[in-house]
Each structure stands twice: as structure tokens, then as C-alpha cells.
């Protein structure tokens, strides 16, 4: 077994040589990235660098033209659809908070719980104590206990972001993909979100895309900067933010 293989099999997420193009435009260009189990990784990069497309590929929404995408070292994600990938344990928070607006906060979490998702299972479902305890716990974590019976559509922007993170917690996936969790949040909310993600990271692998450098700095994790569909720089926040090219294309001089 060569080095490459061990790297692939020991990784939680392993992307190698991934290409995607839309109508001649290379959205992802020879992208290679590995995420170790239990790691939290911050992804930065200018708009259009391919951050969201990369998440689309990992979650099965977009199929790459070529390249390898492995989960847990063995599962080839390019062959699976969104549902199957979610079942395997990859959860995703979207850039624009996407919650079920016409249902209550509590029901949003209930839908996200990783219990029986079959038609029959949901038809004959009756709430168990364990389930409601888990929902209570998540509600507490995301500070929405008092809002549990409100419609998700009536929450503030920041609360929706948290609810979506809460849904990820309820889903309890092995890997969390979190797209711009603090966009539109106040300073205090941003800080709390960083704390929350660090807390979650204790027993989950996380990939977080964010522009807010203060937030990224606060997370204090390894940073990858994408540019034009491939990795431009990787390392600690200080290494990356002092990289010539990163400064040029992203941080600004």
C-alpha cells in the first residue's frame, strides 16, 4: 500500500483531481483535499472560487466530470445520490439558511433526527422519550428553547442560521458541511456560533466555509484557501493570511 492509499483510506473525506465544468467554465479545477476524522477545517476564498460547488459535489448534488471523492476511506460518493449520502452521515447547512418555514422549530428538528426515514416509519411514528430529550437538548444548545413552538419562518435571520445548525446536530452526521454560518449575524452571535462549532467539533468532523476572517481566526483551525476551483494555500490562519497569492486574490492589500 503506497502513501497515497493510506492517505485516502484514513481520511474522513478525500477529494483528488476533481474537475467540474459548466458549459466550458471550469468551476472546479483539479481540486484535491483531505479531511481527517475529527478535524475541523475552514475554507476561505473569493466568490466563485468553487466553495459551494465543492459542497455540491460532496453531497451528491453535482456529479464531477472526473476525479475521486471518497468518504470514510472507502465509499465512492460520486456514485451516490443526495439521500444516500445524507444517510451515510454527511450533513449540510446551506449558504442561505434553509429551514422549513411553515413548520415549527420543534418540527424542524424532529424532521432532522436521524431515525427511521422510511415512509412506513414516519407514518406510524410515535414520539419517544429519547427523541424528545434529544430535541430538548438541541434546542438548548442552539438557544431556541423558548421559540420551540414558533414557526421557523418567523425567526430572525441569526436564529434561522442556528436552527439549521441545530438540524445538523439532530441529524448527528459524521461530517458537517457548514456554508457561511455567520453571514448576517451580530458580533455576539458570531462569537457564540464559533463556540458552538468548537463544541460540536469534539465529536464531529466539520468543514466550514466562511468569509468572516475574525470568525475563522476564532475557530483556530487549519485553513484552506480556494481560488478558481483549486487549492491556493493550506495551513494555519497565519500561514495562509501571509501567503502572497492569498493576499492578492482574496484578503486584499
Amino acid at each position: 500500500m503506497n502513501v497515497m492509499d493510506t492517505r485516502a483510506t484514513s481520511a474522513m473525506l478525500y477529494l483528488d483531481g476533481v474537475h467540474v465544468s459548466f458549459d466550458g467554465f471550469h468551476a472546479i479545477n483539479n481540486l484535491s483535499l483531505t479531511l481527517a476524522p475529527g478535524e475541523m477545517r475552514a475554507i476561505i476564498g473569493p466568490n466563485g472560487a468553487g466553495k459551494t460547488t465543492m459542497m455540491d459535489i460532496i453531497t451528491g448534488k453535482t456529479k464531477p466530470d472526473e476525479g475521486t471523492v471518497l468518504f470514510d476511506g472507502t465509499v465512492d460518493l460520486t456514485r451516490l445520490d443526495e439521500t444516500r449520502i445524507a444517510e451515510l452521515g454527511i450533513g449540510r447547512k446551506f449558504q442561505k439558511p434553509t429551514v422549513f418555514e411553515s413548520q415549527t422549530v420543534q418540527d424542524n428538528l424532529l424532521l432532522a433526527l436521524n431515525v427511521d426515514h422510511s415512509v412506513r416509519g414516519t407514518l406510524f411514528w410515535r414520539g419517544s422519550k429519547a427523541e424528545s430529550e434529544r430535541i430538548d437538548k438541541v434546542l438548548e444548545t442552539i438557544r431556541l428553547t423558548d421559540a420551540r413552538n414558533r414557526l421557523a419562518g418567523s425567526l430572525s435571520h441569526g436564529q434561522k442560521q442556528w436552527l439549521e445548525i441545530g438540524m445538523l446536530l439532530a441529524q448527528d452526521p459524521k461530517v458537517l458541511l457548514v456554508d457561511e454560518p455567520v453571514a448576517g449575524m451580530t458580533d455576539v452571535e458570531t462569537h457564540l456560533t464559533a463556540e458552538l462549532l468548537k463544541e460540536i467539533n469534539r465529536n464531529h468532523t466539520i468543514m466550514v466555509v466562511e468569509h468572516d476572517m475574525t470568525f475563522v481566526r476564532e475557530l483556530g483551525v487549519k485553513v484552506t484557501c480556494l481560488h478558481e476551483g483549486s487549492v491556493l494555500a493550506e495551513g494555519s490562519i497565519d500561514q495562509v493570511s501571509s501567503n502572497e497569492r492569498v493576499v492578492e486574490v482574496y484578503l486584499g492589500r
Binding site: 459548466f22 458549459d23 466550458g24 467554465f25 468551476a27
Partner: protein, 340 residues
């Protein structure tokens, strides 16, 4: 010698020869087979012609929809009624000419075409301003509202002109037929084919070379940015919808020459039109062209095998299956330009 005639009669003659010397029988047999392959060839040509003719009718009915549905994304269930209004415009024009200026009868269609465009186009603009503009982005609601509208329009025409078929005459240059080899080509079908292609070409040129065409394309590609370039998007929407409806009106003029002019005229085309646009690929005029002729020809080649109605059913089923495979149609636009 008989072989050279090569038609159905000759075939009957040869197969009916009965007891003849072996040589003659053999010659006759070879003649028969050659005539048969000849006939098969001609029947192919005939079917292809029928297919082209049907395709041109489908294209004519669908071309306006390619604008309103394909370009604007409006599900206009009243599209068929715009066609119907065009046909009734032709009827009214002919009535006026018959009673007042009988000598002009041969020009009736030339007069009816611009009038039908204006009538249907005006009603289209009216519909867009009063109903559709409140429903952008809610396709299912648009569908229901325009369906209601189609009922109203049908009933209005029924009230005004009566429920029965109205007589629309063919001008002399639209009547009759000529022979081409073994097949008969009627003038009205030929003219409709030419007319359809002309409408298609004019529409394409209009979209490509006029200022309004440019504005329409800009609005459909990026409405928000188009507004920021000073394009009055709501005016363009109304005119685009009017254009699509006007073209449906023109289609009505042509269809009045081959179909019964009744309040239900539009109903019989609406499903076919949607099928053509969806099959060809939404948002692509060339797709609509290819879709219409493909469906027309496929239909006419299926007909002899399966019968007219079963042929049509088979086509519907095939399209339903096709949409499953390629939900965006034959010539789907791809990539970021479309997703954006």
C-alpha cells in the same frame, strides 16, 4: 414496359396476369418486386411529406408558446384560444370581404394575417398586464388562472359567433393540388409549410436584430441586470407576451385553412403545443423547430403501423417517457448561463 409505369394500377395489372408462360411470369414477378419497392419508396416520401405538413402545423401552434412558455416561463393555457381568435379574425375578415368587396377574396388571408397578429397580440398584452404580471414565479397559479381565461375566451367567442363551426374559405391559390411523382401535394399544406418557416425566420430575425428583440433576450437572461441597464422590464414582459400571443393569432389564420373554425379550435392544439416545446427543449427556438418536425414525422410514420389514434397515443407515451429521461428536452441549454 408496364414496369415503367410503376404505379398501383400497373401492379394490379401485373399481379392479375394469371396463367402465363414461365418467362412472362418471371419477368412479371421481377417487375412486381421492383414496382413494390418503388411504391414503398414513394409511400415513404408521402409519409415524410405528411409528417412535414403535420410538423409545420405543430410548429405554427407551438412557436408562440416557445416565446411565452419557453422564453418567459409563463404557462399559458389560454395559448390555444389565441390561435382560435386568429382563426375567427380570418372568419370576420372574409365575412366583410364577402359582403362588401367580393373581388378581394383572394387577398383575404393577406389582410387577416396582420389583423390576427394585432388582435391576439393586443389581448395578450392585456392579459399580461391584468393577470400574469401578478403571478410571475408562481407557475402553477399561472396555469390555473390562464386556464380560467381560456374558458372565458371560449365562451365569449361562443356567445358572439355561436357554438357551431364557421365556414372559412380557401382563396383560389390555396385550393387544389399538384402531383409530384407518386404523391399528391395540396397547395394549402404547401403554403402553410412555407408560411410557418417564414414566421419562424422572421421571429428569429426579430429576436436577433431588433432593439426589442435584444431587450427581450436581455430581460430573460438577467431580469435584474436588464432593469439596471434602463430597460423597462415590465414593458418588455408585456410586449414579449403580446408577441407570443400575436404569433399564435397568425397561426390561427393558417389553421383556419385546414381545420374547423369553432370555439374549441384552440383546445385541440394546446397539449400538442406544450409537448412540442417541452420535447424540443424549453427556451430554445431551434429546439421547437426540430421538436415539431420530429413529432410530426414520427406521428405520420407510426400511423400506418398503429392507426391514427393509437399512433398519437404512442407519441404521447413516448414523449412522457422521453421527459423522464431528459426533463429539459432535446436541446436543453446547459450550464451556468441557464442556472443563474
Amino acid at each position: 414496359m408496364v414496369k415503367a409505369r410503376g404505379d398501383q394500377e400497373a401492379l394490379a395489372l401485373l399481379t392479375g396476369l394469371g396463367d402465363q408462360p414461365p418467362l412472362v411470369t418471371k419477368a412479371a414477378a421481377s417487375a412486381v418486386s421492383s414496382i413494390q419497392s418503388n411504391l414503398a419508396m414513394w409511400s415513404m416520401v408521402q409519409n415524410a411529406w405528411y409528417g412535414l405538413s403535420l410538423g409545420s402545423v405543430l410548429l405554427l401552434a407551438a412557436i408562440g408558446l416557445a416565446i411565452t412558455f419557453g422564453v418567459m416561463g409563463v404557462i399559458n393555457m389560454a395559448h390555444g384560444e389565441m390561435v382560435m381568435l386568429g382563426a375567427y379574425t380570418t372568419f370576420v375578415v372574409q365575412e366583410v370581404i364577402r359582403t362588401r368587396y367580393p373581388a378581394l377574396f383572394d387577398y383575404s388571408l393577406l389582410i387577416a394575417v396582420p389583423l390576427a397578429f394585432l388582435v391576439a397580440g393586443f389581448i395578450g398584452v392585456l392579459i399580461e398586464r391584468t393577470i400574469i404580471r401578478f403571478l410571475y414565479g408562481r407557475p402553477l397559479e399561472t396555469l390555473l388562472a390562464t386556464w380560467g381565461l381560456s374558458l372565458v375566451l371560449q365562451q365569449a367567442v361562443r356567445t358572439a359567433f355561436g357554438p357551431t363551426n364557421r365556414e372559412v374559405g380557401n382563396p383560389s391559390w390555396m385550393s387544389g393540388a399538384f402531383e409530384l411523382g407518386q404523391i399528391t401535394i395540396t397547395y394549402n399544406r404547401l403554403w402553410i409549410l412555407c408560411f410557418t418557416l417564414a414566421v419562424f425566420a422572421i421571429l428569429l430575425a426579430m429576436l436577433r436584430y431588433t432593439a426589442l428583440g435584444l431587450e427581450m433576450r436581455a430581460v430573460t437572461q438577467n431580469r435584474r441586470m436588464a432593469a439596471s441597464m434602463g430597460i423597462a422590464t415590465s414593458r418588455v414582459d408585456a410586449l414579449t407576451f403580446g408577441l407570443g400571443s400575436g404569433i399564435a393569432g397568425i397561426a390561427g389564420v393558417a389553421l383556419s385553412q385546414i381545420d374547423n373554425v369553432s370555439p374549441n379550435l384552440g383546445q385541440s392544439y394546446i397539449i400538442d403545443s406544450f409537448m412540442v416545446v417541452v420535447f424540443g427543449g424549453v427556451g430554445n427556438l431551434w429546439g421547437t423547430l426540430v421538436g415539431a418536425f420530429t413529432l410530426g414525422i414520427a406521428n405520420k410514420f407510426l400511423e400506418p403501423v398503429a392507426g391514427a389514434v393509437l399512433g398519437k397515443i404512442a407519441i404521447l407515451v413516448l414523449i412522457i417517457l422521453f421527459i423522464q429521461k431528459r426533463p429539459r428536452g432535446l436541446f436543453a441549454l446547459k450550464g451556468r448561463a441557464v442556472e443563474a
